[in-house]
C-alpha cells in the first residue's frame, strides 16, 4: 500500500469526506509532512475505488459544481487495519533493536555486531 493510499484510508475512517476534506485531513494527520496534489489524490481515489477499499457515499452540488463524498468500505477497513498492524510491528521491532543496542554501546566502541542495521519486519506505508 502506498503512503498516499494509506493516508487517504485513514482520513476516511471517522466520516465520509470530499476531495478537499481528504486533503485537509491528510495534511493534519501527517502534521504537514504529506502534501497531496490533486493529481495524486485522484490517482489514489481511482485505485482505491477500483480495489473496492472506498466507495461513493453521496454527491452534492457546491457553488454550481459537483462535490463527491467517499467512505471507507469493510474491505478498506480490513486492509487499513492490516497495514497499520504491519507498520506497528515494524516500529516495535525497531524500538526493541534500538533499546538492545544501547547497553552494548556503553561498554565498547562500535563492534561488528553493532554496525548491523536493524531489519524492519514492516516498512514504509
Amino acid at each position: 500500500m502506498t503512503q498516499t493510499a494509506f493516508f487517504v484510508l485513514v482520513a476516511l475512517t471517522d466520516e465520509p469526506r470530499h476531495g478537499y476534506g481528504i486533503l485537509q485531513e491528510v495534511d493534519s494527520l501527517s502534521e504537514g509532512r504529506v502534501q497531496l496534489r490533486i493529481g495524486s489524490l485522484y490517482g489514489a481515489l481511482d485505485r482505491l475505488t477500483e480495489d473496492e477499499l472506498i466507495e461513493l457515499d453521496r454527491e452534492e452540488a457546491h457553488q454550481g459544481r459537483l462535490r463527491r463524498y467517499y467512505r471507507l468500505t469493510d474491505e478498506g477497513e480490513a486492509a487499513l487495519s492490516e497495514e497499520a498492524e504491519r507498520m506497528a510491528e515494524g516500529a516495535r521491532t525497531a524500538t526493541r533493536r534500538v533499546a538492545a543496542r544501547r547497553p552494548a554501546e556503553g561498554g565498547r566502541k562500535r563492534s561488528a555486531g553493532g554496525r548491523r542495521r536493524p531489519g524492519l519486519a514492516g516498512g514504509g506505508a
Binding site: 496534489r37 490533486i38 493529481g39 490517482g43 475505488t49
Partner: protein, 346 residues
Amino acid sequence: MSSLLEKRYRLVLRMLPRSYRERREEEMVDTYLEEFDEDALDEVRPSLSEVASIAALAVRTRMGSAGAPARYAVAGATVRLFALLSILIHAGRLLTNNAITVAWMAGAPVEDRRMYLQSLDDFSLTGIIGSICQWVLPLGWVVAYAALARDRRRAARVAAIVAAVPFVWTIVDPRWFGGLSGFDIATTAFAWLTALAVCCGFHDDAPATRLPLAPPGLALMTVCVLMGLWNVSMTPSVDFAGPEVSIWCVAGLLWCVARARREVAALEPPLSLALALVGVAVLAERMSQIGLIMDGGGLGEEPMPVMWGQTALAVLLVGITGVSGALAARRVTREDPARETGSAVG
C-alpha cells in the same frame, strides 16, 4: 461566472483524457478551488507542482491505470511490453558486445591490442566523459532489465534513463558534428523511446508485467547466445543491426507459432502490438545501416543478400504482428463499451 483561476485550471485539466474529464473534472475543480480565497481567484495561477501532478495523472490514465477505458488499458500494456522487449534487446546487445570485445582482446595480436588500448587513452574532459558513456552507463540496461524482472520499477526507470544518456553523447560529441549518420539517429531514438516507455508505462499504479513464454534470465541468456552466434558467423563483416534484427525475427516467428497454438491469446493484443513496435524500431536501424552502406560508409564486406533477406522477413513479420494487433485492439475496444464511456465512479 467562472474565475480566471478556474479557467486556467480547466485548461490544465485538458491534459487528461476526455472520458476521465467527463467523470472527474467538476469534482477536481471544486477540490482545487476550495483552497483559495474568493479575492485571490483572479490573481493566482496553478502552481507548477499542481500542473505536474495533473500531467502525471494524464500519463498514468493513458497507460491504463485504475478505471481507465479499454483502449488505454491496451495502450498501457503495449507500452510496458514494448519497454520490456526493448530493454531485453539493449541488454543482450551490450552484454554480447562486451563479451566479444573481451574475448577479442584476450586473443588479439599485441599490435592490435596496443592500438585498441590507445583509443581509450584520452584523459581530456570529453575523453573521460566519452569513456564513462561508452563503458559504464550502458550497464543501466542490464540493471533496468533485472529491476523490471523483480518489479522494482523506480530503479528500472532510473537505470533506463542512465543507460540512454550515452546515446545523447553520441550526438553532442564534437567528433560527430557534420558526420552524424541515420544509424546514429535511429539507435538514439530507439534507446530514448525505450527509456520513455519504461518511465511512462511502469508507473507506481501499473500492473506487474512479465515476459511471455520464458523466464527473464533464460530469455536474456538466449538473446546473448543468438546475438553472439550471429556476430561470429558474420565475421569479418561489421553488421551492427544484424543481431537485433535476427533476434526480432526469431521472436516474430515464435509469436506466429504460439499464436497458431493459441498460447498467447491472454496477452493479445498488447503482445503483437509491442512486437510490431519493436520491429519498427529495429527495422529503422537496419534500413539506416543499409543506407549508410549504399552511400559508401560500409567496410565493403557486408553480406548484402543476407541483410536484404533478413530485412524482408522482418518487414513481413512486422506487417503480420501489426495488423493482427490492430485488429485485436479494435475488437477489444468494441467489446468494452461500458468502460470506454467511463461513466461509473464508485
